[in-house]
Symmetry: C2
Subunit: 452 residues, 2 copies
């Protein structure tokens, strides 16, 4: 990986629009643009954080009228000299200018290379860099909140503080090892125990937060259980119509399952359709029911939809009651435009009466759905892990804290304890990128978009 | 149309990317951003053409870390106070910031409203404004060249000069009308005749250029004539593979025709597939052949593809010879990997031997295609009309010049001549927007993308 060359990329979304941005970073960024930019003054003579109007030319032929923004090391996103060229958003012009910059000494940036340079130049730690990608792909309020907090260092600052304290201890313990024949104890064992307990608790909390963080990222799974024609599609359309939110179909885990993503009150929900449940001898139908049960198991919320005309629907809920443990259940009585809800069997459950067709009480359902999510968790702890790489490292750090605790209790020799402490330090250090290797970096930044 | 309020829009292409730009223009643009932007200083105190780092916040919650660029009236694209907010390219963040600006006093911009304001504030004439939209949608070198020249005023500057001269004459002629009883002649009739002849010639040239300009915009139509299995798809793929260019399928004029657009050596070509030609009694097949003939008629270039194995293919060309008048004909002998070309019947024609499958001689074909286009026309005249609105106005102006010439020759009274001269002035003035109305403006800017 070369870090001394100058990289260039189109940074705005692909396609044509009013404006596009082409971004350069590297020692020669300003010099390279000066070769193709013709404005009032040479850019190299201009101050950082200034904007300049002029033409981009190739062989004296104007490619576009542009605005150029100048940033100078170290006060830029990457920490290097940087230029942003704001051109007309034609695909042709974007490509043409990028090619021209390449011809004049820049190199096409790899995915995430700008952020990678920001990391290598100490502008961001690794978990902050990872949060940049999360921030860009954030589609809901909750996801956005987690990502921006992580990008601003909220996620790792506590851990980092504990790690620094631990670093002091390890040097004391290593000092003890140098004097091992003299049986001295520089590191206060009680203080060390407390610190390890702190780290254990923090990592445990973070590990616990992952389950929730993951749900935020992928959408809260809501299994919709109900007979055909009970009004599922009409309901989803009614919700969609009110929200004007992002809705997409994502392929489910099973080949035939298609899931609908929808952001309601800023929280992403993943609606999962299921086959109807009833007792039957039909083998194929039983397979379908089995699958429904699996989907209920994977859901956080079960939306049990019934027809207001159907008097006995809620009886079936008891048949699956054991599957509903730890789930939020909402019984949705639909078609109240046609019939008065008269499902006596539903009295044991939280019910909401709606007419999906006439959009009655949809807002009540929306609030019930968002209430069912313990959204407060995010606000309170402020530490939500959403990244599997972080989870694995936290898990390893946590395991090592257990070993250190055991070792301290059983009076294990300092060199074993020191080894486990070093593991804790390394695993936490890997999260923020203090310990890392090219392969890990490569994997992380490969998932970025180009231009970031 | 309010011109005093502040408009805002996302200016970068739709979707998620590394960076997105949200743009504001209007008297309060900087003030509005100051309400939601938290950086080192209030933006209102800062110089034009400077960039500022900070946070966009709503209710003390950070939405994003952004860079803000400041422009002050009249030195901006629109001629008004303007701000560009460069944020992370998440769809969620883009929407969130735009909504926040709306809440704080901005209004969502209509399509093209930034450029419309630039026009109303005298930063661009109307034909230049129209060229901005063309520039953004330009997909080929030729299209881009025409659009950028028009945007920089190249298209109208000559006409504008002639119009100014004519304005002097009209005032002299109108003076004559005031003294009509005295039979004086202030305006030199010979000079007027020369000027009108100049304008006539210029408008005629421009009208003539439209046909070519239109072709540049829509792609040079190339009819591919050939039997099934002669290798058309393979050829198009081979060309595509070399060019890595924009290719799309656009629905043709007839329901069953799909056309392939491809930019070769910077020129956009529109490849039109046709049914095979042969003598037959089958009614339906004859219908297909009839349609082929129509397509040949609409083409500039006919690519007659034959199989190297087929000894008699070129005989069929003579059958359609009358359709080929005024067309460039290229006979493409394909599959030379399988058989030596031995089509004696083709000697009368310009032939190229290729193997589409093994990509042999594809570059020869590419050069032949671009040579067939009289590309020099663009470079020489520099005046290519691509806009039907301009064409209609030029046509009307031209017709009026004929009437003025007739009037001058036949000694028509000055008031009739003055009326026709005024028509010339108005029609030319409408092109640049000196004479215009809200409806015309509305139609023009409605075709822009939002944010431009």
């Amino acid at each position: 990986m070369l870090i001394n060359d100058t990289i260039a990329a189109i940074a705005t979304p692909a396609g044509s629009g009013a404006i596009a941005i082409i971004r350069l970073s590297g020692e020669d960024a300003i010099k390279i643009v000066d070769k193709v930019f013709f404005g009032k003054n040479k850019l190299i003579t201009q101050d950082a954080y200034t904007i300049h109007f002029g033409n981009i030319k190739e062989n004296n032929e104007i490619i576009d009228e542009v605005l150029v923004s100048i940033f100078k090391a170290p006060k830029s996103y990457t920490g290097e000299n940087s230029v942003e060229i704001s051109c007309h958003g034609s695909i042709y012009i974007q490509q043409k200018i990028l090619n021209l910059l390449i011809k004049n000494g820049a190199r096409t940036a790899n995915p995430g290379e700008f952020t990678q340079r920001a990391f290598l130049n100490g502008k961001l730690d690794l978990s902050q860099a990872e949060a940049v990608a999360d921030l860009i792909s954030a589609e809901s309020k909750a996801e956005h909140k987690v990502a921006i907090r992580q990008m601003r260092g909220g996620f790792t600052s506590d851990l980092q503080k504990l790690r620094t304290e631990l670093l002091n201890f390890i040097s004391l313990i290593e000092l003890e090892l140098d004097f091992s024949e003299e049986d001295v104890e520089f590191a206060d064992r009680t203080q060390l125990k407390n610190l390890i307990a702190n780290i254990k608790q923090k990592t445990e909390e973070l590990i616990y937060s992952f389950e929730y963080g993951n749900v935020i990222k992928k959408g809260i799974p809501v299994a919709i259980v109900g007979e055909p024609n009970v009004g599922k599609s009409t309901l989803l359309n009614a919700l969609l119509n009110e929200e004007k939110a992002i809705v997409s179909n994502i392929a489910g885990t099973t080949r035939d399952a298609v899931e609908d993503l929808m952001s309601i009150n800023g929280i992403l929900f993943r609606f999962i359709d299921t086959a109807g449940i009833r007792k039957t001898d039909d083998t194929i139908e039983n397979l379908g029911i089995e699958r429904t049960m699996q989907k209920i198991e994977n859901a956080e919320i079960v939306l049990y939809m019934i027809d207001a005309n159907d008097k006995n629907s809620c009886n079936k809920i008891s048949e699956i009651s054991e599957k509903l443990e730890n789930k939020k259940l909402i019984v949705l009585i639909n078609k109240i435009d046609k019939a008065k809800a008269q499902n006596d069997t539903c009295n044991d459950f939280k019910t909401i009466e709606v007419s999906a067709k006439f959009k009655q009480n949809i807002s009540v359902l929306k609030d019930a759905l968002t209430d069912a999510v313990q959204f407060s968790k995010i606000d309170k702890s402020g530490t939500i892990v959403t990244n599997t790489r972080h989870l694995e490292l936290l898990q390893k750090a946590y395991d090592a804290t257990l070993r250190v605790e055991d070792g301290l209790t059983s009076g294990l020799s300092s060199d074993f304890i020191a080894q486990d402490i070093r593991e804790i330090l390394n695993h936490i250090g890997e999260i923020t990128g203090e310990y890392t290797n090219d392969e890990v970096l490569g994997n992380i930044f490969a998932n970025f978009c180009i231009g970031k």
